[in-house]
């Protein structure tokens, strides 16, 4: 759907009305995943592997089943065969089949009348394991003699000779890279390492499943996409999709980690077996061990530059580790690496290797932060060595409308140059720095996504409007959607209530991911509103007895147009709604679409960092985010996304990491030793929103949720490197690592 041609003055877009979920969240009325209860409900608990890699010889559940109060025990045998290998990986991740592949991998589930009994029952399940050698690090996993996670599977697409744990490879580019390097005045080549991080949402996974003896089931859960939960669970339970209704709860953070299932199929299987509702709530320990960490990486980057800052060639080799199952995230990373640059010669390669770690789940711009970080760090080093301004160099090489992107396509209107210019002109960029302080710059990129979307909008007889959408609200989308409906209909924001419906109440919706919701659901809402407007105009034409084409919609009123202009008093939406039952019945609009035209998004971050030279302690002194939002519907939410992404990226850069022992066990499965930033660690994150309209949306909206986590890794790393006068090349830059580099 294209940008509206007629230029409009927005009345509601760009304002900052109250968030519709605010009162519920601060008063505790909001219902999160763990808040749902049902009569006769049982508590579900999951037994998890103590080993990083082991064959399951046998599972004896008889003692657990015999325990008073235990109503069901399930293992992999209680699930159907999934419909394809990708779906089967999802199921095997929820319940180990044959082998456990990582510390914390589920092996059995129990439902009992109390948590204490369920816990006791877990202890009574006897699992006999044959412990196998394990591998958790990238370089170990690609060795010829590495333990192989899936020896029986044949990852056919792979070139001859690739290590048995490699599941995906990628290789693309354009231009003559060797000639490009030959033309460079300076070439910098470095290897960068990042560690796995977790999305760190505050709400643990939680669900309530209830299946009747007739096979009809309901599932309430905390998810970013309940249609996807329905599809996966129906597949794993061998059910028809129509037999399962899924309702998404309010969500306490997802960041990509709630785009798949972990406990939901287990709760359904337990409920089916027990004949009672079963609730499962993960502990934080389980969240860390068995739900979505992101990837770890080891990346070589080589970039050549002329004395005046022109990049002559770029090369990257990305190695991603995404846990125990195949993952294509490497493709997204490889495509993002050089996306911000207009290059004549660029070559990107990479592979994904499987290890004995939990299966990677999407995390905000999956694959991009770890790919952009090494490129932006090498560009920074080239700028330093050549005495060039890092923003000028980026401007000189920036991708623009018409640039052939490093990953193939040609960009439409994009906001990178405008964003770089805004950063350069901002007072932050010219503010003086003190001793032991450094300023880091980084650009970042994300594709954004549109996808399958259904929206329905209906008029109430008092002139208010109900909007029904199917995407859990993880970043304020209910407010933005109400605003877009209000803008289009010409009624106050307060007259609209937007809700997230269950899977039976609305057509299919893709998961809330890819920064797609404000873009795609917004677009569908505008179209649904336009459909309702069309009906309203037809009704009014009937009353006035004129041609429907002779009625226009303006600022919430139907007005006679053309030769009839001024002949009738305009009718408001409320007036039309009040008599709808006399003019033909209820008035509603709906729209279903597979939206494209999401429009890529760029951001630029500035980070001032101070390093204590005696301890390696870092302090983020000042941080500013510049980003193109296309059109900021509700600027506070856009700023919230920019700030939140920056903070998560800062955590990734400075302290967050999955730490494994020699035994392959995760050592820091809790917020004490998995260190996300706390409020006092951070300065206020300043934001500057740019608005370069997206040609693919009627109001020019672009997704903004993911791009802001892409630049911080390099922005902070470049800031630290400049502060200490030495180049950091591994994350997280925890104090021991920094002190070691300082001391040389």
């Amino acid at each position: 759907m294209a940008l509206d041609t007629e230029k409009r003055e927005f009345k509601i877009l760009g304002t900052r009305p109250l968030r519709p979920d605010g009162v519920d969240k601060v008063t505790g009325r909001a219902l999160y995943g763990a808040d749902m209860s049902a009569p006769g409900m049982l508590t579900g608990k999951i037994l998890r592997s103590p080993h990083a890699h082991a064959r399951i010889i046998s599972i004896d559940t008889s003692a657990a089943e015999a325990l008073q109060g235990v109503k069901a025990v399930v293992t992999a045998n209680d699930f159907a065969k999934a419909s394809n290998s990708f779906m089967q990986d999802g199921l095997d991740n929820c319940m180990a089949r044959g082998k456990v592949l990582y510390h914390g991998h589920a092996v059995a589930g129990v439902a009992a009348v109390s948590e204490a009994i369920a816990k006791q029952a877990l202890k009574l399940i006897a699992v006999e394991y044959e412990v196998l050698p394990h591998v958790t690090e990238i370089l170990d996993a690609i060795k010829p003699d590495a333990p192989v996670l899936h020896p029986d599977r044949n990852f056919k697409r792979l070139p001859e000779g690739t290590a048995a744990n490699i599941s995906h490879t990628t290789d693309f580019g354009h231009g003559d890279v060797e000639a490009g390097f030959a033309a460079a005045d300076l070439i910098v080549e470095r290897t960068f390492k990042t560690e796995a991080t977790h999305q760190g949402y505050i709400e643990p996974h939680a669900c309530l499943a209830s299946m009747g003896p007739d096979g009809k089931a309901d599932l309430w859960c905390c998810t970013q996409g309940h249609y996807n939960v329905r599809g996966m669970c129906a597949d794993y339970l061998g059910m028809n999709i129509s037999q399962l209704r899924v309702t998404a709860s309010e969500i306490g953070g997802g960041f990509g980690g709630k785009t798949t299932v972990f406990i939901e199929p287990v709760a359904l299987a337990l409920s089916r077996k027990a004949g009672k509702p079963v609730k499962i709530v993960m502990t934080r320990d389980e969240v860390f061990k068995a739900s979505g960490p992101t990837l770890s990486s080891l990346t070589d980057v080589k970039i050549g530059m002329t004395k005046d800052g022109k990049i002559t060639a770029g090369y990257a080799m990305l190695r991603y580790q995404c846990g125990a199952f195949p993952s294509g995230t490497i493709d997204l990373g490889a495509m993002s690496a050089f996306a911000a640059y207009d290059l004549d010669a660029v070559h990107t390669e990479g592979f994904n290797v499987m290890t004995n770690r939990p299966r990677e789940a999407a995390y905000r711009a999956p694959g991009a932060p770890t790919a952009v970080y090494p490129v932006e760090a090498v560009v920074d080093e080239l700028c330093l060595e050549l005495g060039l301004d890092p923003i000028d160099v980026r401007l000189l090489n920036a991708a623009d409308e018409g640039t052939k992107a490093s990953y193939g396509p040609t960009f439409e209107a994009i906001g990178l140059k405008a964003t770089l210019e805004a950063a350069k002109a901002h007072p932050h960029y010219s503010a003086p720095l003190g001793p032991n302080q450094g300023r880091g710059v980084s650009a970042g990129f994300w594709f954004n996504f549109g996808g399958n979307t259904s929206v329905s909008l209906s008029l109430n007889d008092d002139g208010t409007v109900a909007v029904t959408e199917g995407n859990p609200d993880i970043g304020g989308s209910r407010a933005s959607i109400s605003m877009m409906a209000a803008e289009e209909l010409g009624i106050p924001y307060e007259n609209i209530r937007t809700i997230v419906a269950d899977t039976n109440s609305l057509g299919f919706n893709d998961v809330t991911d890819g920064s797609r919701v404000t873009f795609a659901v917004g677009l569908a809402t505008i179209e649904a509103a336009r459909a309702a407007i069309k009906i309203m105009c037809t009704r009014v034409a009937k009353i006035w007895d004129i041609d429907p084409e002779a009625v226009t919609w303006e600022d919430g009123y139907a007005k006679p147009a053309g030769e009839n202009a001024g002949k009738y008093d305009p009718m408001s939406l409320a007036e039309i709604a009040a008599i709808a039952n006399k003019t033909g019945g209820p008035i509603a609009g709906h729209h279903e679409v597979n939206a494209d035209g999401a429009g890529v998004s760029f951001g630029v971050h500035l980070a001032d960092i101070e390093v204590d030279p005696e301890t390696g302690f870092t302090k983020v002194l000042r941080y500013t985010v510049f980003q193109d939002a296309g059109k900021a519907v509700h600027p506070s939410y856009v700023e919230g996304q920019m700030q939140g992404g920056a903070v998560q990226g800062i955590g990734w850069a400075l302290n967050e990491e999955y730490i494994y022992g020699e035994d392959g066990r995760l050592q820091n499965a809790g917020f004490l030793d998995y260190r996300i930033p706390v409020a006092s660690d951070l300065p206020p994150i300043d934001t500057v929103i740019l608005e370069i309209p997206n040609p693919g949306h009627p109001y020019g909206v672009r997704g903004v949720g993911e791009t802001p986590i892409v630049p911080p890794l390099a922005a902070v790393s470049n800031g630290v490197s400049r502060a200490i006068g030495k180049r950091m090349s591994a994350l997280p830059m925890s104090p021991p690592k920094i002190l070691k580099v300082i001391k040389g």
């Binding site: 301890t615 400075l654 004490l672 030793d673 260190r675 006092s680 104090p735 021991p736």
Partner: protein, 285 residues
């Protein structure tokens, strides 16, 4: 599990002494409840000492203060007398946790949890604090430094518990300070720490020094701080102190920090804490 909340010290001692299974004292519960929730310990008996008379009192004694075993960080932090006398001990206790945790956490709990990283312990030890212990054989006093004997282990016998901790008096021109290193700014466990208590003469020369290190050994460690005595904490003396602390430290290499890092940083902390104590003491440098 049995839960008891006796009103007297005698009853508490009797309950603890008679329990045949595992018994635990509950003060603020900010360690105990977490450990129970994580299935690290499953006591058969929990004895809450917060209802015993005097446990919440802060009482002047011989120029110092006797702190009841249930006095929370928040309560101690509001006591002007203690803050003026032992600012380093108060700042160490106040570093623990968040506002919520401060409303509960106690010094005696921090001490008896016997983590080498407990924040108030090096500061109390540097201050020469003395624990009063009630037990089946009556009451005894024990220097705080001798209570922890290893990670999670104390020298308390069965049936014994701490009823109060005495922070002693101190001369003029003296003060203390505590610093810890954490990678963040709060809500973390010390990677290395140092409690420093210094006395000066009227001319500003250091006459006595105690430096206690935390999180760099199985228990707190006493560093030889004699290099400060007779100096005005000039750079050379401070560098000597830092080197001595680094040499004294015997830290482990773990997820919170490397051996090398902890040894380095503990020296830096000691010298910085010494400067703070010097300023607080009003000593001329």
């Amino acid at each position: 599990m049995r839960f008891e909340a006796p009103k007297t010290t005698e009853l508490a001692v009797a309950l603890l002494a008679q329990e045949t299974g595992t018994a635990r004292v509950l003060a603020g519960g900010t360690d105990l409840l977490v450990q129970m929730k994580m299935d690290m310990i499953t006591p058969d008996l929990v004895v809450d000492i917060k209802h015993i008379d005097g446990m919440h009192d802060i009482t002047p004694e011989d120029g110092g203060f006797r702190i009841g075993a249930a006095v929370s960080g928040a309560a101690l932090g509001e006591h002007a007398g203690v803050c003026a006398l032992w600012p380093g001990v108060v700042e160490a206790l106040e570093l623990i946790g968040s506002t919520q945790v401060q409303g509960r956490a106690t010094m005696a709990g921090n001490l008896c949890n016997a983590s080498p990283a407990g924040d108030s312990v090096p500061a109390m030890a540097a201050a020469g604090a003395v624990a009063r212990i009630a037990g089946p054989d009556g009451t005894r006093d024990c220097p705080v430094a001798d209570v922890p004997v290893g990670p999670g282990k104390t020298s308390l016998a069965k049936g014994e518990f701490i009823t109060s901790i005495l922070l002693p008096s101190r001369p003029d021109n003296a003060s203390d300070a505590y610093l810890r290193f954490i990678p963040r700014t709060e809500m973390d466990i010390a990677v290395a720490s140092a409690g420093v208590s210094l006395e000066f003469d009227a001319a500003g020369t250091c006459t006595a020094a105690a430096v206690i290190l935390g999180a760099v050994g199985p228990t707190i460690l006493t560093a030889d701080a004699s290099c400060l005595v007779g100096t005005k904490l000039e750079d050379a003396a401070l560098e000597k102190l830092a080197a001595c602390c680094s040499a004294t430290a015997t830290p482990i290499d773990d997820k919170r920090g490397t051996t090398e890092f902890r040894k380095d940083v503990v020296g830096v902390l000691a010298k910085r804490a010494a400067k703070i104590a010097q300023t607080r003491a009003g000593a001329k440098s």
